[in-house]
Amino acid sequence: MLAAIKFRIGLAVALAAPLALASVPASGQGAVLGPDFEMITLAPGIISYRAAGDFSRTGRPANAPLRAVRIDKPLTIMARQVTAAEYARCSAAGACPRLPMSQSEPDRPAVGVSWRDAAAYAAWLSRETGERFRLPTDQEWAFAAGSRFADDALPEGDPNDPARRWLARYDAESERARPVDAAPQPIGTFGANEHGLLDIGGNVWEWTDTCFIRGTIAASGEISTTLVNCGVRVVEGAHRTYVTDFIRDARAGGCAVGTPPSNLGFRLVREDDALRPLRRLLARLRPATS
């Protein structure tokens, strides 16, 4: 099953590249342009969601309120993380930065990827396929992760003792079982969730498009945002964290006392809106670019 999927993905990209170079579109090959087969479409639904960021209530650190959030459109997301080989094709095309860190096996997840790298890959893949690929928002990621989404609420404890919250977070992160070692594992090692998404919460954390926010929580539970910093993005996986967008390896040490993601990787969502057929048609008519 997995082998078959890999083969088809490889075929799709291999065919997409010569196609882009051809000035006259080849007919009948459009079906392989978009990797439909590796995408999973989730029907609209409702999730219990806590916003990502740093929040305070009456001047003290607090958890964002847990809210029922409705996802009102179908969500189409990659069944698995982008692999090292897939990313390498983008860098070979000159569209993605080359990753300086030694990469794993080609058919394992691409790791050591920054948000900027992931965004460049999404832009390239969109150009290559005529689709619109992008990183998921944190909310979309949480929806797709389903039962594997890790709530990051901490005991709010004594408002006059900031150390309790740090200790609680430290213990929570320390207690979490570390999956095998940090080396990227074959696709599917960490199993599928109820939606069929592979390796959610494994040893590769995933970039989202959501910016870090700071906000205050009113007595009503309403959040008012006081700062948005898009130089820092939300990263999801076995736990939620916030990472500067050019960082490829969120290592700990020094005064960063938490437990960092073992690896940074990503998967993309595809926008399946009403204009999708038109975009795909235009892509086939488009002259060669890169």
Binding site: W166, D171, G253
Partner: protein, 373 residues
Amino acid sequence: MISKRATWAAAIALALASPAFADDLKLPRQQVDLVAPPFVHAHEQATKQGPKIIEFRLVIEEKEIVIDEAGTRFQAMTFGGSMPGPLMVVHEGDYVEVTLVNPETNTMPHNIDFHSATGALGGGELTLINPGEQVVLRWKATRSGVFVYHCAPGGPMTPWHVVSGMSGAVMVLPRDGLKDGAGKALKYDRVYYIGENDLYVPRDAKGKFKAYASPGDAYADTAEVMRTLTPTHVVFNGKVGALTGKNAMTAKVGENVLIVHSQANRDSRPHLIGGHGDYVWETGKFANRPETNLETWFIRGGSAGAALYRFVQPGIYAYVTHNLIEAVELGATAHFKVEGDWNNDLMLQVKPPEPVPPAKLGALEKPAPRHQH
């Protein structure tokens, strides 16, 4: 070399056969079971007892270990199976009697050089043993302090064995315990022993760390990396993250914690982020007055130091070498988890992060004209 070793082996065999060997000092004996760092075997801080012969058994273990989160495999050589080897605590005037064991499962000759001992290259000349041999060495603890011990089998083997993990420390306490500069007794509620290792792991053509089947297989490549004097890893207790997370060291607010830090090969500069060194024996020798209220202290390569600190605020503390590149990029970070009540007098977040007030922003954007009358 061989004949010398054979001579000593014969001498020791003779000595073991003779009851006079065990009793020549007419002192009480005490056997101590060593424990793996960062923990330290139970001991008295000050003692009213007279000098004793303290017996330790130290088994050398060559083994493959994993030294970082990426799963880098490393051919380690260890005293007692741990990196660093265990801390041995005695009192000034005691005799330390070490049975050094080199099991047949090992592949190389090893020995031990105690910086706290006098003569015979710290005991190295009298302890070189092959796989399948053991040796008993006794030395008198004549100087108080914390001291490094390490393997020194000679020539290029010496630095290689040391950077493969073969070092540890001895703590010789004054019989009446530790003192501040004015002679007042200092006591600790906990003691931790942190051994720092600089490791030199060869890489393959693609830049990936290489793994080897045995220490011997790793030797030639490792020596090349060693000569660059640029470690690939600088770690506490043998591994990146060995003293963080579930293995973080613990303390309670109000407790005095003695931190013994050794580095057998290379300089280091311990710093407790958010804390201090109340009393620091930077060069590690307790007959000297401790320095007080230090921010960072210096451990000379080939020495050990000791710092006493009373934690007065709860939270997570990082204990690093304050070459922060080594602390963060190469691994030299440990954590203390300290429970207790927060003291607002010592620190308070007066106002949480909030947007810069607009008036001030405006002032920054539109500086007042400077050349107007």
